[in-house]
């Protein structure tokens, strides 16, 4: 209980710190944001009115508090790349679904494919099959996801015509077509991570299997399979969960690049476009969003640890 409270306080502090950093970082950019938004031929009056309207004359802490108040309500002001006509929150909301689906599908693929492969590789240690899996994982770990995305487009889009490149169907229009298109970017993100996960899982399992309790179980006549599923897997869970949590952050980073290749209207593409257009309200909001997600994932992982490992609860 004490542990949970402590972790909750850390969570709130981290989120607060992240918001302060995200906000102040974008205040050091040289240039006048009113001039940026209105263009070079804005009159002095227009600039003044703009600054007045968006509170640019207030002090830094006041502006931060106003920004945070908005942020907590999901309001990040208006987007300058859309001439202040569209709310940042609207832009993000539309794209969030795409990115979440993409990240979710990739994560699912990683878990479903890598866990059986990792177990197989550890069980058949030193066999031809294991060497083969090792070599293949080594190669796939070296392929950047966005290059893989291009290869998938080339092979499945252009040569085999399983999907039409660039022909993304929104979720609410046709779910089947949406999923059929999304599976390819998800595979592009997942493959290098699957390779990493298989390698990691194999070494985690082998390390666990070299411990004394496994030898004891064996000497008592337990079969290898029972030892693996009843003891080893449970004990290997902690490092595996840590690794999966790290992968989640990596998957989010992967979506930024892969969305670009597949022309998906997701958060990552919005982020890159906003950086190129110096639309800082959007950049700030997306960064704060992703950073918060990473912080919250780490928080949840800490909670899961103490739930699955009683040793952590006692101290």
């Amino acid at each position: 209980m004490k542990y949970t409270v402590k972790k909750c306080i850390t969570l709130i502090l981290s989120l607060f710190l992240a918001s302060v950093l995200t906000f102040t970082a974008f205040q050091i950019i040289p240039g006048d944001s009113a001039l940026n938004a209105l263009g070079m031929d804005a009159t002095e009056e227009q600039l003044k009115a703009y600054r007045e309207h968006f509170g640019l004359n207030d002090s830094l802490p006041t502006r931060y508090i106003n920004w945070l108040k908005g942020a907590l309500k999901g309001d990040f002001g208006y987007s300058s790349q859309y001439q202040m006509q569209i709310k940042v929150s609207t832009l993000i909301k539309d794209r969030l679904t795409v990115t979440l689906w993409l990240a979710g599908l990739s994560f699912l693929l990683i878990v479903v494919v890598s866990i059986p492969l990792g177990i197989l590789s550890a069980r058949k240690k030193d066999s031809i099959l294991d060497s083969f899996i090792t070599l293949v994982t080594q190669v796939f770990m070296s392929v950047p996801s966005f290059f893989l995305a291009m290869i998938l487009t080339l092979v499945f889009g252009i040569l085999l015509k399983w999907f039409t490149p660039g022909n993304y169907t929104p979720l609410d229009e046709n779910f089947g077509n949406f999923l059929r298109f999304m599976i390819f970017p998800a595979i592009a993100i997942a493959i290098p991570k699957i390779a990493m996960m298989v390698k990691f899982l194999k070494s985690a399992l082998l390390k666990e299997m070299s411990l004394d309790y496994v030898r004891t179980a064996k000497s008592k006549g337990m079969t290898n399979i029972r030892i693996l599923f009843q003891h080893v897997l449970k004990n290997a869970l902690i490092p595996v969960i840590t690794f999966l949590a790290m992968l989640l952050a990596d998957i989010l980073a992967g979506t930024i690049l892969v969305e670009q290749v597949f022309n998906l209207p997701g958060l990552g593409r919005l982020l890159v476009a906003s950086i190129a257009n110096r639309d800082y309200a959007v950049v700030q909001a997306i960064i704060l969003y992703i950073v918060s997600v990473v912080i919250i994932i780490n928080f949840l992982v800490d909670l899961i640890y103490q739930w699955i490992d009683p040793r952590l609860r006692s101290n």
Binding site: S14, S142, P144, I151, L154, I158, A249, A253, V283, I287
Partner: protein
């Protein structure tokens, strides 16, 4: 176990072979390329690989082999610069915090933990949006972003080694802390430092490729592997060889270095 040993060794040799080949191509590229990598030729647009242009030409009729040779060179220089910044600052930071410990260590390691949990490409994007795109900016940004990973590795080694007898002896002989850290301890951590330098190089190559692909790294007409991939994407239909050449170059680079680093780790075990 025997087969495993042999396999590891085979992987190590394979890594060395791939890396030697790649480095040779890049080194030659610094002095000689078959064609001028930036010379356009309207008559030869998007021509497939042939004897005159081994890897074909791109949408401006530029020779892809020449561009890959030069582009990989650019990518490598950027990656080496990033690793130099990250590794030197990280080693100093890790050495001091690991050797002396104390509250500064506590604070720096907390900051480290936070930074490590964020993907480097995301931090680099924040940096680029603040200071603008370009090769120097991404070297600086990624160099700083790579500091925590080196600091962590070096620190944990220093914590273990500072308690060892030979360090105590050196202390008794009157060696000062600076000497102990950099003359006595540092040479003993190369077993972990060299693999992490190689992996760091790989991560730098991948990060450069990613950022340049997004148009935020190396700017045209300069070629880099990521830059070429982003240019190649629009021509995937007409000239797929354009994308494959720089992509395969990235894959071979990363594969070679990670096989070597795995081999070194096994060697020391």
């Amino acid at each position: 176990m025997k087969l495993n040993r042999k396999n590891d060794h085979f992987n190590y040799i394979l890594g060395l072979a791939i890396t030697t080949f790649i480095l040779l191509v890049v080194l030659i590229g610094f002095f000689y390329t078959p064609y001028d990598p930036n010379k356009m030729n309207a008559a030869l647009k998007n021509s497939p690989p042939s004897l005159t242009h081994l890897l074909g030409t791109d949408n401006f009729g530029r020779d892809i082999l020449s561009r890959v040779m030069k582009g990989a060179g650019t990518t490598y220089i950027i990656a080496v610069a990033i690793v130099c910044i990250g590794a030197s600052l990280g080693t100093i930071l890790g050495a001091f915090t690991g050797y002396f410990g104390g509250w500064l260590d506590e604070i720096l390691m907390r900051v480290n933990d936070v930074l490590i949990s964020f993907p480097s490409i995301l931090l680099a994007l924040v940096f680029v949006s603040l200071f603008g795109p370009g090769s120097y900016n991404i070297i600086f940004a990624l160099g700083i972003i790579f500091v925590p990973s080196f600091a962590r590795v070096v620190r944990s080694e220093f914590i273990v080694l500072k308690e060892r007898d030979f360090i105590r002896n050196a202390k008794l002989m009157g060696a000062n802390s600076f000497r102990i850290m950099f003359v006595h301890i540092l040479p003993n951590i190369k077993r972990v430092l060299i693999p992490s330098l190689l992996i760091g190089f790989n991560n730098a190559v991948l990060a450069e490729a990613g950022l340049s692909y997004l148009g935020l790294g190396v700017q045209p007409p300069q070629a880099s592997l990521g830059r070429m991939l982003s240019e190649a994407q629009s021509y995937l239909l007409d000239s797929p060889w354009y994308a494959i050449a720089p992509g395969v170059m990235i894959v071979l680079t990363v594969l070679g270095f990670s096989l070597i680093s795995g081999g070194i780790e096994n060697e020391y075990e």
